[in-house]
Amino acid sequence: MNQELTEEEKDTLKHVAIKLETFEKHRGNLIPILQMVQNNLSYLPSEALKIVAQHLGILESEVYGVATFYNQFRFHPPGKYPIKVCLGTACHVRAGDIILENFERKLEIPEGQTTPDRKFSIERVACVGCCALAPVAIIDETVHGHMAPSKVEGLILRIKLQEEMEERENKQHEPGQS
């Protein structure tokens, strides 16, 4: 929770503060507000919780208490490529936990965290509702069904290669550099 906000995030936070004014100061709006904040910032930094508490006129600890109760809310910034591994019943029966472990091992972070370069984050989710495709992992917004441990490395590698390619192209397009 103590991560510094990036400049971009500070800007978004200002934007969020303006949006906050459109919500009535009503306790029942707390969860919709938190959802709005997370939609904008993709997580709930403590600075945001502070302004939410101020807006509703309740204690920050109250806001924090509600936010931590629900699985939807995140307190770490997600990676550029958030990885969600489904651990619903069907995925569990088909060894979803092994898939999760493989991601953790390959990226060297435990679930719930983000890699230091903020590229990848791993999250476990309880059922995304594509049980017939079990085991399932979601990277970004794409659902990858019938996962296997050997597929994990390939998926990560593909994203890394894509990134490199994009970087190279960007460099080529930058004018004035030889």
Binding site: H26, R27, G28, N29, L30, I31, P32, L34, Q35, G65, V66, F69, Y70, N71, Q72, F73, L87, G88, T89, A90, H92, V93, R94, A95, I98, E101, N102, R105, K106, V125, A126, C127, V128, G129, C130, C131, A132, L133, A134, V136, V143, G145, A148, P149, S150, V152, E153
Partner: protein, 650 residues
């Protein structure tokens, strides 16, 4: 409402219906082929978006004109992406194609739409009886289902209200508005409809209680907080036919006298949220919802509230707390929500399936509904059947069908020639039943008697390779995390239950653990306030009852009979069978635990192995050299793994 009012309602609705019928006729009679693509979440996950794009591109490329009609989910998840092509000029009936990849889509456009050849090898079946192609209704997956709630799912476009109206939608609301609220409640009561959220409380009685409360502001809530891992029928209904749920809500609100309603849907279901919001807007625009519904004196405002993912919020008092902006913790009942619910107003909370059952009931009558299903559980049940089963997906069957019929006849049994071991019904609150229960009829009372429960309808089929102790641990892991922490027994009891199960699956079980599991489970059941705690030990108690030998093997012999618990199993290669020089296992191993022995066969470095089983899958079937044993000390010693391997890994 007065007869004058009735006339107004009819007048208003008839104009809307005529428009709907006009649109439908225009679509139906257009002299071009129609392509219906299933586009619910599971379809999209299987690639329906790419398939749709491929159809669009291929139509342009081949210069063929056709209409693409996006529909919801058919419930046949194993076959996604599902496409129905209606090409009347070809002389064939509408044809159901399964697993339509972009490549297949392009081919179908060229060969079927272009040349009139339906490509028999890719056909699943025709959607209606005919002389040319076997019909899908020849399959028991189709003909043994009885679709009431899901009748229109997969047939209409969920984003188009006119599609629903042309299929007979909202006409029941019109009929209900012309009845006295009491008559509506009486009809629902007569039908014997029981709440489909799990507990099975008679819906009619709930409405009657709410009606009898004298208060101005009442609220109707549709509970779509489907938290069971492995259950997704509520999502599918909302994504495939949101209007039927809204119609049920409107009828309920009219019957109990509410002017405000809410759909509580998980935010993890973005598509369902979008489609329901869109459906409400469309209905308001046509005057079917909002102020003065269909020019009558009845107002109803429906809002969408996005739940934030807490399993306990499926419990109605917890759900109410979460809408009010607090931690979703259940409270003591009474007062029941129908007396004092959201913001202390009388609140009727019904599940999606319950509300979606209301329009068909009023449409066909209570006696018709009573004729389906069993005496005490009339109507149909929707299950999402997943796990080790051939035709996974959503199935709607009349109550009273046996588990055997459902699993083996309708869903095609267990894949890969494995044996059936157990079926887990009702999610984390349900129980695991063994094969002795296969002939149990599916209804509220029989399942509860067997120790499972109807729950919201998740059903996970498990084959012989599934360890019941591990499954129990999995469910406890879930409920323990989801316990809101209010009751001591649920908060701390489930923690200890989980701890015992964890040590059993690791082979560290202690003397008396099984007995402790039993007594602790019973204590949690008695010491908890809400359904979560009361039912959390169910998976443990039922598996302990029906699979006690497995627990004993874990506790005493440190052995996992199903070879699933990773701490209790090990892999090795049968050197007699292992081929010289084949590297399939070594290349796929994610941790480089496979090494080559001095005579160029393979061995497993047990210290590195994470037991993921990839080598087992990778080993070519003609060698089939990978063996899995439990307990791990049964692995034969092959030779010392090379030191280099370990250094590399560090």
């Amino acid at each position: 409402m007065s007869p004058d009012n009735h006339k107004n309602i009819d007048l208003k609705f008839n104009t809307i219906r005529k428009e709907a019928e006009k649109r439908r006729a225009a679509f139906r009679d257009a002299p071009v082929p129609k392509i219906h693509i299933g586009m619910a979440t599971c379809g999209i996950a299987s690639g329906a978006l790419e398939t749709k794009k491929a159809f669009e591109e291929a139509l342009v490329e081949n210069n063929i004109e056709a209409r693409i009609h996006t529909v919801g989910c058919f419930g046949h998840c194993y076959a996604e992406p599902v496409v129905i092509i209606d090409h009347p000029d070809s002389g064939f009936p509408p044809i159901f194609y399964h697993e339509v990849t972009p490549g297949k889509a392009k081919m179908l456009v060229k060969l079927f739409l272009g040349d009139g050849d339906p490509r028999f090898e890719h056909i699943y079946g025709a959607t209606e009886e005919n002389e040319l192609i076997p019909s899908v209704t020849d399959f028991s997956r189709f003909n043994q289902e009885k679709r009431i709630v899901m009748e229109k799912c997969g047939r209409i476009d969920p984003e188009d209200i006119y599609d629903y109206i042309a299929a007979g939608g909202y006409s029941t609301l019109v009929r209900a508005l012309k009845l006295d609220p009491e008559e509506v409640i009486k009809e629902v009561e007569h039908s014997g409809l029981r709440g489909r959220g799990g507990a099975g409380f008679p819906t009619g009685r709930k409405w009657k209680l709410a009606k009898s409360v004298i208060e101005q502001d009442k609220i109707v809530i549709c509970n779509a907080d489907e938290g069971d891992p492995g259950a997704y029928m509520d999502r599918t209904i909302l994504e495939s036919n949101p209007h039927q749920v809204l119609e049920g809500m409107a009828i309920c609100a009219y019957a109990v006298g509410a002017q405000q309603a809410m759909v509580y849907v998980r935010s993890e279901y973005p598509l369902a949220v979008k489609l329901v919001t869109n459906a409400i807007q469309q209905a308001e625009k046509l005057g079917i919802l909002g102020k003065g519904i269909l020019d009558s004196t009845f107002d109803l405002k429906i809002d969408v509230f996005q739940g934030s993912g807490a399993f306990v919020c499926g419990e109605e008092t917890a759900l109410i707390r979460s809408i009010e902006g607090y931690r979703g913790m259940p409270r003591h009942r009474p007062p029941y929500p129908v007396q004092k619910g959201l913001w202390d107003k009388p609140t009727v909370i019904n599940n999606v399936k319950t509300l979606a059952s209301v329009p068909p009931i009023l449409n066909h009558g209570a006696t018709w509904y009573r004729g389906i299903g069993t005496q005490n559980s009339p109507g149909t049940a929707i299950f999402s059947i997943v796990g080790n089963v051939v035709h996974a997906g959503l199935v709607e069957i009349p109550m009273g069908v046996s588990l055997r019929t459902l699993i083996f006849d309708i869903c095609g049994g267990i894949p890969n020639n494995k044996k059936f071991k157990a079926v887990q019904i009702g999610g984390p609150s349900g129980g695991c039943l063994n094969e002795d229960f296969l002939d149990t009829p599916i209804d509220f009372d029989s399942l509860t008697k067997a120790g499972a429960m109807m729950g919201s309808g998740g059903m996970v089929v498990m084959d012989e390779d599934t360890c019941m102790v591990e499954v129990a641990r999995y469910f406890l892991d879930f409920t323990q995390k989801e316990s809101c922490g209010k009751c001591t027994f649920c908060r701390i009891g489930t923690y200890h239950l989980l701890k015992i199960l964890r040590r059993l699956t690791k082979g560290e079980g202690l003397e008396g653990d099984l007995e402790l599991l039993e007594t602790l489970s019973q204590d949690i059941q008695t010491g908890s306030l809400c359904g979560l705690g009361k039912t959390a030990p169910n998976p443990v108690l039922t598996s302990l009852k029906y699979f006690r030998n497995e627990y004993e093997a874990h506790a005493k012999e440190k052995r996992c009979p199903a070879l699933m618990c990773r701490a209790l199993t090990a892999f090795y290669f049968d050197l007699e069978l292992c081929a010289r020089g084949c590297d399939a296992c070594a290349t796929c191993c994610p941790v480089d635990a496979v090494f080559t022995t001095s005579n160029r066969k393979k061995g497993v470095d047990q210290e590195l192995c994470v037991k993921c089983g990839e080598c087992l899958v990778a080993c070519p079937p003609e060698y089939d050299a990978v063996r899995k044993v439990s307990p791990p000390h049964l692995v034969p010693y092959i030779e010392k793994p090379p030191e280099k391997n370990k250094k590399d890994h560090k």
